[in-house]
């Protein structure tokens, strides 16, 4: 398995500001992903974070709104830009370790935009 730490775990943000979420894994992983879970909803994939290159975004998500970095095999960041109340969600980092198909998730970052 993998131990995945996310920061912040929870934050209240002002409308129009940006916040960066960090994801740190305790081992090198082949693939990292960012998901969003809006209140009362299921999880939706935002993007795949690619090491050393631009992230691959899913339909409905764009780089200007959700810039992602992945400088190495153990770390990634997701920025939620120019936030509005609709961005209030849990943002989750997930990884595939390369030793099978199991996907693991971090504890999530709860963002509330006021």
């Amino acid at each position: 398995s993998a131990v995945i730490s996310q920061k912040p775990s929870r934050d209240i943000c002002q409308r129009g500001t940006s916040l960066t979420i960090q994801c740190q894994v305790d081992s090198q992983v082949t693939m990292m992903f960012w998901y969003r879970q809006q209140p009362g909803q299921s999880l939706t994939l935002i993007a795949t974070a690619n090491q050393g290159s631009e992230a691959t975004y899913e339909s409905g998500f764009v780089i200007d709104k959700f810039p992602i970095s992945r400088p190495n095999l153990t770390f990634s960041t997701l920025t939620v830009s120019n936030m509005s109340p609709e961005d209030s969600s849990i943002y989750l980092c997930s990884v595939r370790t390369g030793r099978g198909n199991t996907i693991y998730f971090g504890e999530g970052s709860w963002l509330t935009v006021v």
């Binding site: 398995s1 299921s42 198909n101 199991t102 504890e107």
Partner: protein, 109 residues
Amino acid sequence: GIQVEQSPPDLILQEGANSTLRCNFSDSVNNLQWFHQNPWGQLINLFYIPSGTKQNGRLSATTVATERYSLLYISSSQTTDSGVYFCAALEGSNYKLTFGKGTLLTVNP
């Protein structure tokens, strides 16, 4: 892409009861996982089960890949089992998980 449907959407049990949660998926999958999301939002891996049957304590899961469904069994439920149970399917080689909408389980004392 693949579609994942879960039933029932909500389930209320008395402590000690048994339950079965179902997950149907629309196409063949490389991976099928069950998760439990606790009240703090954390997703906990329960099973990685693309086919066959696995058991872990009071929980067990069965996936019949040829018929495109998976079942999660909870026996002798406890209040700590409350939360949302998600199944998620992974298709192809891109390792993107598609989640169902979840089953909200409430276990009353």
